[in-house]
């Protein structure tokens, strides 16, 4: 309780200094919209988990590859939408983000975080996974996590989109989106997203999809309004 008050006092002090309370998302404006694609999205293949029965039996319905989450009306899910420029530098959130291995899948498939933010990696499965984030900018590591092992606690120091894989289960694929900002989100399966808590200012908003690349747009926030900003990415076959 006392901690909380102290924290908000510190926050306000910071806010007046920098004019931007960064991790404090309740006040301020919002950017919201929908992510769609043009062209033909590649068909996602069904994943065969027969080699890992303890995972296969957790799925009642077929499990599909998650590289492109295309919906009705060309909507696009699992797109990272974030503030790539503008505003004051945001303070690193004190809450960790969690990456879970469950049913031999990554939850979530793509996980945004700010550089320096605590990342917690859990294994809920009855099989060993190895977590192998294939970073290029940050140091590359590869760790085994057997069933029941404690979560792996780590951080990434530099912004980078890092493909993550498990070498034991080659169908497991995900991404860590390490960003310079705490203002980030992932579009839902219907393509919608919302970034709230933006102090007045001019921003560049970027949408990133692992196959279809990025698109950036400018937006200006004056107060507590919601600015509408849709993204349209070009589908690439592969």
């Amino acid at each position: 309780m006392h901690m909380k008050i102290a924290a908000s006092v510190a926050m306000c002090a910071l806010a007046t200094m920098a004019l931007v309370p960064s991790t404090h998302h309740s006040a301020g404006g919002t950017v919201a919209g929908k992510v769609t694609y043009t062209g033909t999205a590649p068909k996602m293949k069904q994943i065969d988990m027969a080699k890992e029965p303890s995972c296969a039996k957790q799925h009642a319905t077929p499990v599909m590859n998650e590289s492109v989450v295309a919906g009705e009306g060309n909507t696009l899910g699992d797109v990272v939408v974030y503030i790539s420029a503008g505003g004051a530098p945001s303070a690193v959130p004190s809450t960790p983000v969690t990456f879970e291995q469950k049913g031999c899948q990554y939850l979530p498939h793509v996980l945004p975080m700010q550089a320096g933010q605590q990342l917690e990696i859990k294994n809920d499965d009855q099989t060993s996974h190895n977590i192998h984030p294939m970073s290029q900018v940050n140091p590359e590591w590869n760790k085994s996590q057997p069933p029941g092992a404690p979560p792996i606690q780590t951080t990434y120091a530099k912004p980078e989109f890092i493909p993550v894989k498990c070498n034991v289960h080659p169908w497991m694929h995900g991404y860590f989106a390490v960003l310079n900002t705490s203002h980030s989100t992932v579009s839902g399966s219907n393509g919608t997203y919302s970034l709230s808590g933006l102090p007045p200012g001019k921003y560049t908003v970027t949408a990133w999809q692992e196959r279809f690349g990025t698109q950036s747009q400018e937006v200006t926030i004056a107060g507590s309004e919601t600015a509408k900003l849709d993204f349209s990415l070009k589908a690439t076959e592969y």
């Binding site: 080699k51 029965p53 099989t127 060993s128 190895n130 977590i131 192998h132 294939m134 290029q136 140091p139 590359e140 590591w141 590869n142 760790k143 085994s144 996590q145 057997p146 092992a149 404690p150 792996i152 070498n167 034991v168 289960h169 080659p170």
Partner: protein, 293 residues
């Protein structure tokens, strides 16, 4: 980069090495001015390695494979599998330090002296110690990581425990529990269910170590080397670090079991053979259906 990988049988490999050594010698006369080193001097014990001195030797002995810019694409690299290391990433297989951290200077010197079995990386033991230190100092100039990061702390290796049947059996249970068999195979032949799909971080196919034909490892030969290998993992490959989950003396149990899989006479293999002669039927097979003993 072409993804076609050529397997070079060992005789051709040695011939091609001679060619490589010869062409590297030629390369030396062509390449220009010394590159400004990013890393500083390298201290190994009392010896100081100097990057400026290492540059010449590097161009002469190493650039043919590792490239003038240390990016692993020297003129001979395309014929070689596994590919020569790209030093610009500063990701190394053989370390005494935890996964994701830089190796110590001593680790790099050890690799240069030892060479890498089952690869085209030669032993450089004949080179004078000072030259080895200079070479290591020079290869550290290729990645900015060396200027901003310190080498990791070495993994602690406790004194080896006695080789006993109990220890081997405990190690066997670990081989099952930590699912080494998924890549290395139930008998250690490198033919586990995940083996065929493996690639390294440069997207090149890579094969799990075959214990039944291998006597030496890329990263050493001793029991302590073996302990270190599965604790640190081989960065840049599917071989992960197990240091978070294997602790202290437990690691020796796994070492003792792995030694029974190899085609060499070791205290472990002698003891295991005699135990198996009368107890083989008590063992459950390693693999998906099993839980160790």
């Amino acid at each position: 980069m072409s993804r076609v990988a050529y397997r070079i049988p060992s005789i051709t490999a040695s011939i091609s090495f001679l060619l490589i050594a010869a062409s590297a010698g030629v390369a030396q006369t062509i390449h220009g001015l010394p590159r400004e080193g990013r890393g500083g001097d390298t201290k190994v014990n009392t010896r100081v390695g100097r990057p400026a001195a290492g540059k010449q030797e590097y161009t002469r002995y190493c650039a043919g494979c590792h490239g003038d810019h240390g990016d692993g694409v020297g003129e001979n690299a395309q014929w070689i599998e596994p590919r020569p290391r790209d030093f610009t990433q500063a990701v190394f297989k053989c370390r005494s330090t935890l996964s994701g951290s830089l190796p110590t200077d001593q680790d790099l010197i050890n690799t240069v002296r030892r060479g890498i079995v089952n690869s085209n990386m030669p032993q450089w033991r004949p080179l004078p110690d000072q030259m080895q230190a200079d070479l290591v100092a020079y290869i550290k100039t290729f990645s900015p990581r060396w200027a901003t990061e310190k080498a990791g702390t070495p993994v602690e290796i406790p004194p080896e425990t006695p080789v006993t049947t109990e220890s081997i059996l405990a190690g066997r249970a670990m081989f099952q529990k930590f699912e080494c068999w998924k890549c290395h195979g139930t008998a250690g032949r490198g033919d586990g269910p995940s083996a065929s799909s493996l690639t390294d971080s440069k997207d090149q196919p890579i094969h799990p170590y075959d214990f039944t034909t291998g006597t030496r490892f890329k990263c050493g030969t001793t029991n302590a080397d073996l302990y270190r290998i599965f604790m640190t993992g081989l960065d840049g490959t599917p071989m992960a670090s197990f240091a978070d989950n294997i602790k202290g003396d437990q690691g020796w149990d796994l070492v003792h079991y792995l030694r029974t899989l190899q085609p060499i006479r070791t205290p472990e293999s002698i003891l295991w053979k005699s135990w198996l002669a009368t107890h083989a039927s008590e063992l459950k097979p390693i693999g998906p259906e099993s839980g160790g003993r």
